[in-house]
């Protein structure tokens, strides 16, 4: 026996039940979606902290032939350039424009990106094309090997 005034109030019994149902359904959906969304979140794989790497010998045939080589520095590629006799440079090999890997053009004395014609000088400064920032420089040390033999290139984070 529901009094008439109550049955005409703004929150009828049916609407209350509907809201409770809707609310529990929403909670159920959230309960399912939360683990799924968390699962989709990529896991950052911890990178070994590297401060320096060995980048091979100075008489490396690839380095002599092309004038450069790309070596992994942790997860990042680094370009080692043989600019002249005993003159080695190391720069981040990732173009600051759109993430392509750069190469060294001995004929023009430039570091060049094939993707969109980005150009950098040997200190990493932008000299042409779309890249917004210079390439990050690394320091190169020469470590003497056996007497009369080739030296070892060591690339160090600046």
């Amino acid at each position: 026996m529901v009094p008439e005034t109550e049955s005409r109030s703004s929150l009828s019994r049916r609407r209350l039940v509907n809201r409770l149902m809707g609310g529990s359904f929403g909670a159920l959906v959230a309960w399912i979606l939360y683990p799924v969304l968390r699962f989709l979140e990529p896991v950052e794989v911890a990178e070994a902290a590297t401060s320096q790497i060995e980048a091979g010998l100075t008489n490396d045939p690839e380095l002599l032939a092309k004038g450069f080589k790309i070596v992994p520095f942790g997860n990042d590629p680094v370009i080692v350039v043989r600019a002249g006799e005993g003159d080695y440079r190391a720069l981040s090999a990732t173009c600051t424009h759109l993430d392509c890997i750069v190469e060294y053009r001995p004929d023009r004395g430039l570091i060049w990106c094939n993707c969109h014609n980005g150009q950098f000088d040997l200190s990493g400064q932008v000299v042409g094309g779309p890249p917004p920032r210079p390439l990050r420089p690394y320091r190169v040390h020469l470590v003497e090997g056996v007497p009369g033999g080739a030296d070892t290139l060591v690339v160090e984070k600046v």
């Binding site: 026996m1 049916r14 159920l28 683990p35 699962f39 979140e41 896991v43």
Partner: protein, 430 residues
Amino acid sequence: MSEAPSRSSSLAEEPANGTTATSASSAPGAQAGWSSWWIDRLHLAEVLALARKKQVPIHPYAPFYYLGGMTLFFFAVQVATGILLMLYYRPSASEAFESVEFIMTEVRFGWLIRSLHSWSANLMVYFAFVHLFTAFFMKAYRPPREITWVSGSLLLFLVLAFGFSGYLLPWNQLAYFATKVGTEIAGEVPLIGDWLLRFLRGGSRVTGATLSRFYGWHVAILPALTTVLLVLHLVLVQVRGMSVPPRYERRQVRGMPFFPHFALRDLFGWTVALGVLGALAALFPWELGEKADPFAPAYPGIRPEWYFMFMFETLKLVPGGEIFGIGYGAIPILLFGVAGLALVLVPFLDRGVARHGRSPGFTAAGALAVVYITGMTAWGYRSWVPVAVVAATAALILVLGIAVDVDRELARSLGRLARRDRSSNERGTE
């Protein structure tokens, strides 16, 4: 008096009477415009008419009708969790185990998603079996539902193939040896055995090539086949309606509207299933074991998934030797093959049930199959658990069958009460 029809239709017993209970409380104006736009563009009018008209019969065996939907629910969980696992899983011999390990230990809720996938797989297989046997004992394969049965039994084989191919993917010792044994058994099939073994393994041995192959089957070929058969199966169920057991067919059986009454009960069941599944996955996360090593000796307890146990145990009983150039081991394989074929073709073999509504021979054969499968599984595990699970399932179905009767009586008396209430109310206000 817009309240009256919706109130009466919320009691399960009343037929639909052409009114839908959905539009009862919401503001009709804007929503009707939107929904009619969708209905028109997607050409849904016929579908809705069918859904509105569709009735689900009520009788003591009515709980069987939820088993297919339950299997479907676990299949949906498999699709969702399977797609998620694919984002991290790597199908190669050198990386598969490590990637599953990564999922279990590094990925947030990775342990949950993988455990859900494993638990739901097992529950799906179990419900597929229960669904099949209940449909069999109800003689639901009678005309005009032969194709529904054939597609359903083929779906069961696909589910088993999903299980067999998925078992190998974590590339652990147990799976590696179970796959070796399983594919070796396939190799005993007369005439095509050698070809079959090489086809399954992607070579003469179980290697990374087998893993790639099983992965391809598991995530592409089997899902594609399943989608086609499942759509056919579900459309036929909708178009042909639910089968009523012969015993109740001749009587006047009452029904409840498929939508929303039956659909809401389905939804309730799925919610409970999701809760049980989540609890199982959280409390008993699936083990990973050790990485597969082709040069390590097999340790004791190498066995297939439980749903292959009865076949595995049967094969173990057969001694070595051969007759007419066929190995003894091939005989049970051939018998299982014939039994599988007979299962698919039951609607065409059992002509008696179409004619006089009875086929006790087939009922007996089905009961024998249940006893054999349960018995051999229990024997294989040297455990009473399989027997207990089957008994518990039968008991649950029985209780639900009684509940349907109670439900019906309750609805009837509630309907009477509501009518009396309403009429006395009206008298009171006048």
